[in-house]
């Protein structure tokens, strides 16, 4: 009986697409006869995966390293494991912490006009709003978006991934930590601030002489690191390893 149902959810192995060999399209779980649907056991459910974007259900087939399993309907990437992704992500997270903390102190732009000079750090940028009365809320928001949230996210990723990489049981409350890290993802804007520096520079280039400070290059490096951070992270694999 149970064996029958398993056969019912069986799906073909993902086959490489001719145009993009790295992408394996998830094959759909074959539909179950209606009366059997309710009888799916707990193990059966554990082997299924649902596309978070369109709700399509598949039999999870682990793709090889460097391959991706994408939803056959909406092409959302479902599983994308990479070799040694854990170590790389921890390294990137450490670099983010160091860069953001260092960049907070150092000046990112320096200006010179009419014999007067001024250099500005990230803290100065956040505090620029603090003097403007009602916009004090903005000072907090800016500091949070470009300093606190990126650092917090990086620390949470280290906390979650370090035990997994070391083949140890997950850290206490690791699931909650990873959940928070995922919630904060859209609100971590250090890389946007870096582009903002470049725009500000262009805007006042006519008005005064402007130089990039060391912190600008740190933020520029952050742009690359954030791309790596988002591209290497296979959320499915992380949740799967937190389950054990």
């Amino acid at each position: 009986m149970l064996g029958d149902e398993r056969a019912g959810v069986h799906a073909r192995a993902p086959r490489p697409q001719p145009d993009d060999r790295k992408t394996a399209r998830m094959s759909a779980a074959r539909p179950l006869p209606p009366h059997r649907t309710a009888a799916l056991s707990a193990e059966d459910l554990a082997g299924l995966i649902a596309c978070p974007r369109c709700d399509a259900v598949y039999r999870a087939v682990q793709p090889g390293h460097g391959e991706r399993a994408v939803c056959a309907r909406c092409e959302t990437v479902l599983i994308a494991p990479r070799r040694r992704a854990g170590q790389q992500l921890i390294a990137v997270a450490l670099a983010v912490v160091v860069l953001v903390v260092a960049a907070t102190m150092a000046p990112f732009l320096a200006i010179e006009a009419g014999g007067r000079a001024h250099a500005s750090s990230v803290l100065d940028a956040a505090l620029a709003f603090a003097t403007a009365g009602p916009a004090a809320f903005l000072a907090l928001a800016v500091a949070a978006l470009i300093v606190f949230i990126p650092v917090l996210r990086a620390l949470l990723v280290i906390y979650v991934l370090a035990p997994i990489v070391a083949n140890r049981p997950p850290a206490p409350r690791a699931a909650a930590a990873f959940r928070l890290s995922e919630d904060l993802r859209p609100w971590s804007m250090a890389e946007i601030f870096a582009i903002g520096c470049a725009v500000a520079l262009v805007k006042i280039a006519d008005l005064a002489q402007v130089h990039f400070g060391p912190a600008f290059w740190m933020f520029a490096a952050l742009v690359g690191l954030v791309v790596v951070q988002d591209g290497f992270m296979c959320r499915y694999s992380v949740w799967k390893s937190l389950e054990r």
């Binding site: 759909a28 799916l40 649902a50 369109c54 909406c74 009419g114 940028a125 916009a135 809320f137 800016v142």
Partner: protein, 217 residues
């Protein structure tokens, strides 16, 4: 796509899927046992929340454009400029490129975002001329681009902190910067409230089990 006939959704199977960790649970489960995320087959009141954030975002966007974004004081003049006014000034001085960048980033993208979210939300109720695939892509673009609008607020913060040259030149943030930031945050929340599974629902039937008879098996 080529196997769409065999595709079934968690809702059709009487299951509920976790949108955070993709685990599947029996219908009616309240929380995901793997990641702790609250489970809903479809986010309840998703569209109401989308529209609520959308409206607040639009309300904040008006003063963001009408009030000055930057207050500049130099030796000879003191000047307040709105977003569009600043771009027009730049264009008059021949800086067409930068003027265009500012207009695209602060006007075209926010307005486009409001239109895109509205068309997605309307498309769920009344159907849409766009195929589902295009709407999904539109949603992903809106989600991705939303945070980048914050760049304007950062530029104001950078200029205000940097250009502090005493009597020679001084820049301080105008009230519009606060409203622009709020507008960006509210539209991001509006996009996050949207449940993209609604795009893909074939029929508005909210009931999962039992399956209708006569479905292709």
């Amino acid at each position: 796509m080529e196997i769409a006939g065999a595709l079934r959704t968690a809702r059709e199977m009487g299951l509920v899927a976790c949108t955070r960790c993709t685990r599947v649970w029996p219908g009616g489960t309240a929380r995901c046992g793997r990641c702790g995320h609250r489970l809903h087959s479809r986010e309840p009141k998703a569209l109401q929340r989308v529209w609520a954030w959308w409206a607040v975002g639009l309300i904040a966007y008006l003063p963001a454009n009408l009030w000055p974004m930057l207050e500049t004081r130099t030796l000879v003049l003191s000047q307040e400029s709105t977003i569009v006014g600043g771009a027009v000034d730049l264009a008059r001085h021949g800086n067409w490129g930068i003027a265009l960048v500012i207009l695209v980033a602060s006007v075209a993208i926010p307005v486009g975002k409001f239109l895109a979210i509205a068309s997605l939300a309307l498309g769920v109720r009344g159907g849409s001329a766009l195929p589902r695939h295009r709407r999904q892509q539109l949603y992903e673009v809106v989600e991705y681009i939303g945070r980048w609008s914050m760049i304007d607020v950062f530029v104001v913060a950078i200029l205000a902190s940097l250009v502090q040259l005493g009597a020679v030149a001084q820049v301080s943030p105008g009230p519009a910067s606060l409203f622009f930031a709020l507008s960006v945050i509210f539209t991001m929340l509006s996009a996050q409230a949207f449940d993209s599974r609604l795009i893909w629902d074939e029929d508005p039937a909210p009931l999962a089990p039992p399956l209708p008879e006569g479905r292709p098996a």
